[in-house]
């Protein structure tokens, strides 16, 4: 068995017809004297034949979409980054805003204040009497 200068990958190239005439001559000369390379060439040839005999297979649903997903993923990442930036801006603006005091008008007191002032200028009986009426503002 010759161990010097095993052609290796050149065996596959020989089958594919990709070697120059000189390379092919050298590889074939080696094969005549090397049992290992003869066995390897036979295995590669059989493997290729087996692959060629396999039936055609349809790609599963969504295969092509998954193939192109990487581009959409980047787009999504970009949109997400923009959204995060906008949310951060809103958050910063919100934090920068002083908390506005809330007002709950005490309607009963305001009505009393009005009743008092109005009753001094109009008819006092008809103006002051409603102030004694039973009004439950939050019933």
């Amino acid at each position: 068995m010759s161990t010097a200068a095993h052609p290796g990958d050149l065996l596959s190239a020989l089958l594919d017809g990709e070697l120059t005439a000189r390379e092919e001559e050298d590889v074939r000369a080696h094969l005549e004297t090397c049992a290992d390379c003869q066995r390897e060439l036979r295995l590669v040839t059989e493997g290729r034949a087996s692959l060629r005999d396999l039936p055609p297979v349809d790609p599963p649903f969504g295969f092509y979409e998954r193939l192109v997903r990487p581009r959409h993923r980047w787009a999504r990442a970009g949109v997400a980054a923009l959204a995060a930036g906008a949310a951060a801006s809103v958050g910063i603006m919100a934090l920068a805003a002083p908390r506005e005091a809330t007002v709950a008008p005490h309607v009963a007191q305001l009505v009393d204040a009005h009743t008092a002032s109005a009753s001094t200028s109009g008819d006092p009986i008809s103006e002051i009497t409603p102030a004694a009426a039973p009004v439950s503002w939050n019933r």
């Binding site: 005091a101 009393d112 204040a113 008092a116 002032s117 001094t120 008809s126 004694a132």
Partner: protein, 336 residues
């Protein structure tokens, strides 16, 4: 030469200026029936029971109270007591004791002459609680807005019916039973109230953000400004009805608005209207201010006047943007 012209114009202005005022005074020769009623209430002893009616949305509600008066002191008693001693106004409830609503020294804001905005006419006679009355109608734009029954001898107001601009009854005050002339037993003068009443405020001292024009829609004139507990009350009147405008700085918390409020819109803004036996109210917000307008006016007129109130929007676009951002964040996170 120029100086002489200026002096001449000034003299002319002084001569012409008072003329409209003199004309206006000449028109007020007619007696104001509400002035007559007020004087009668201050001078005539009486005691009786009163039915109040008021419209709350489309429902006419009713309540009864007792009222008595003598020598300038009035006492109305229902769920709580309301008292007038001269110009002073007080209320009493078991929970809060006596509270002063209006101190005696504050006087009255007064009101414009009734005949500036209204026509007044006598409308025959009637009887209320067994007493003969002279009926007086007060009209605006040809529609009766107020019908007053004044007791024929004393001019005490025995019945008052108020109508809206379509002639629909809004509110009524009626003596069901009354004794006139018998001095009523009045409670002793109440002790010093727990809470002091408002203080007068010159209009120039009203914060700039709360200033309002001297006239609002429907002929309401500004009569005075008062402050109590940090809240400014601007008082307006058209001669018949009175209005009070309160403005508070901040965002509106609707949680404490009356339970019987009605949601409405005012110039495209949400607003909340409510009624009570003595009148109508409306609350709305614009910019950083919460407005509360209350008055013994019909609901449709109150809305018209409210729409004429000057609103003070936020002056800064940046402030509004920041507040919008804060509102957005708080809608997700809650207040922080």
């Amino acid at each position: 030469m120029m100086r002489k012209r200026i002096v001449g114009l000034a003299v002319l202005a002084v001569l012409i200026g008072p003329a409209p005022i003199a004309l206006a005074r000449a028109r007020t020769g007619e007696r104001d029936p509400l002035d007559d009623a007020r004087k009668a209430a201050e001078q005539t002893p009486f005691s009786g029971s009163v039915t109040l009616q008021w419209r709350e949305a489309s429902v006419l509600r009713t309540d009864q109270l007792t009222v008595k008066g003598t020598h300038g002191t009035l006492l109305a008693q229902g769920q709580r007591s309301a008292m007038a001693i001269g110009a002073e106004r007080l209320v009493y409830s078991p929970a809060d004791g006596w509270q002063e609503l209006w101190p005696a020294g504050l006087g009255s804001p007064g009101h414009p002459n009734l005949d500036v905005a209204y026509d007044v006419r006598t409308a025959g006679t009637d009887h209320v609680a067994g007493y003969p009355t002279d009926v007086v109608e007060v009209l605006k734009a040809g529609v009766v807005r107020d019908r007053l029954d004044l007791e024929a001898a004393t001019k005490l107001l025995l019945r008052r019916r108020q109508y809206d601009s379509k002639g629909v009854l809004e509110r009524a005050f009626t003596f069901d039973q009354i004794q006139i002339g018998d001095p009523a037993m009045m409670p002793p003068t109440p002790p010093a109230p727990k809470q002091a009443g408002p203080r007068p405020l010159s209009f120039s001292a009203v914060p700039a953000s709360e200033r309002q024009p001297s006239r609002l829609a429907a002929g309401y004139e500004r009569l005075g400004a008062y402050r109590q507990g940090g809240i400014v009350q601007l008082v307006y009147s058209d001669g018949l009805y009175d209005l009070s405008l309160f403005q508070q700085q901040g965002g509106l918390d609707t949680g404490d608005l009356p339970a019987q409020r009605r949601t409405t819109r005012l110039d495209g803004r949400p607003a909340w209207a409510f009624s009570w036996p003595g009148g109508e109210g409306i609350v709305w917000t614009a910019g950083r201010t919460v407005y509360t307008l209350v008055g013994d006016v019909p609901a449709d007129e109150l809305t018209e006047v409210a729409a004429s109130v000057s609103v003070h929007p936020s002056t800064s676009v940046m402030h509004r943007l920041r507040q919008a951002c804060r509102g957005l964040v708080e809608s997700f996170t809650g207040a922080f």
